[in-house]
Amino acid sequence: MFYDEPRFLIAGDRYISVEVANAMNIRTSFRVLALDRAVKEAGIPGLVETVLTYRAEMIYFDNQKISIKDLIAEVKKISDSMDKVESVPSRLIELPCRYGGKYGPDLEYVAEVNKLKNTDEAAEWHYSAPHWVGIVGFTPGHPFLMSLNPPNKMLNAPKYKIPRTYTPVGTLGHGGNITSMYTLPSPGGYQKIAYCPVPIYDSFQRLDQFTDSPILLQVGDRIRFRPINDDEMDDLRQQVLECSYQYKIEEETFSLKEYLESIKV
């Protein structure tokens, strides 16, 4: 799964991509996150920002301050001398969501392709373990999540053959073994399984949680989805309108080793 050595790919005149694996899962994401922390701590001159995905760290650098050759040498040095990272700080963020019905019209199909009894069981597979945030991107604050359930309890579903042209904001979509959350009205190909009435992107920064940034999530966070009914949905929507909704966020540490042991059958 992992390469013996990360691959240092030229990704343009001002970008390199440090690719750790040709796969995407919690372990590859964890390694990318660990590398990213080490790279940022090193304070390389000319490093502007990084974009993390499950399998690679893309580094955007100022080519007037450091040459691509020197940057690759610096990052390689960091990568080679990095200690093995066992755990990282990871917030556990609770997000209420309504599964199935008109808010998740494709949950029935997802239950079917996973050979589950009904939508309740499919929902339980989804909310019974937190989800790992491995990418925030595509559109603002849009996460690509992976369930922390053992592999035999992860939903898997094909994407739409022909993407729909519109997905309402707040929709939880599921494609392959990835859950995403739509933050802008946009086209989409993931199966609509649920709806979250509280925002994870607030461009006008209306809710307290968004005072410093319009984006709630970052790579390395975990989300716990809490199933709600229609009454609670109405109540939560009202709280969002009044900007009084309070997010439940716990600052924790996530140990990859402990997690991998815990899901061993």
């Binding site: 990704a11 343009g12 970008y15 974009v51 690679a56 955007y60 991107g137 559109t139 690509f144």
Partner: protein, 328 residues
Amino acid sequence: MSEEVLEVLEPGLLTSVQDLGREGYQSFGIPPSGAMDSFALRLCNLLVGNPDGEAGIEMTLMGAKFKVLKDWAISFAGGDMPAKVNDIPLPRWQSTKVAAGDVLSFSLAKMGCRGYLCLAGGIDVPMIMGSKSTFIMGRMGGYRGRAMRKGDRLKANEPSSSLDQLAGWKVKPDIIPSDKLEKEIRIVMGPQDDYVAQEGIDNFFGSNWRVSSKADRMGYRFEGGGETKFADKAFTDIGGPDPSNIIDDGIPLGGIQIPGGIEPISLLVDGPSAGGFVKIGCVIRPDIDRLGQAKTGDPIKFRQVSAEEAAQLLKDQLALADKKNLVR
């Protein structure tokens, strides 16, 4: 103190407030946004004595019409969008003094695609995440997070000196970018050029491309070249159902995807930060500005340069945006 300087009478096709863009938030899915032709914006700001990085007004293809609310110094640069102050032509690549009651009108671009209008003192809109740029799709930044509409009033901050001192500057003719339609766009290869067969790479650089009708601030598509053949590696790697699919990675500004091997698309200032398509290469920074002046149907050729050459080309370009290249 800031003053209301312009009122939008007609917004044109797509008019928005843009500076040099927002850095540091791509890892949250917030694209840089900013001027599609940052070089034109830099010169435009210089002309009215504004600091580098100040915001201006970007107009697209069909310009806007404004009423001047207060005597002010303005500058106009970028694409050839014939412009007038009342009935008198407004010179391009120059700063000009305008008076309250004047009407500024910018018409259909004859050459190029984007015109820039700067106000002495800069535009007074809030800084959102370090930038005044509008990210229209994300409803963020600029003037209320959106494109300009009729009736909007733009404020400017206090100019750096008197209007008479700020007006009448011109960019030296040899500094002004060419309006020529045919463009050679320079590319640094990677990160997945090894997924493309040599035949596909030869086709990419050998073909005469045209900018397709799908060309906006998110990305430009190119058509008219042949199909891109993928290498064996693209078929054995598990990225998705098509050889052009890969496991998602970051997308650089200017990165060129070739979904299905058909139409290359260069992702630009409002584009996505990550995705799952092979990227053959990336448009170099100075040529993103030149691409920003290309419009549907314009002929494009691609040429390969190294990352080191590209860094030198950017250095050369940045050196041109200097006060010493203005004359009166």
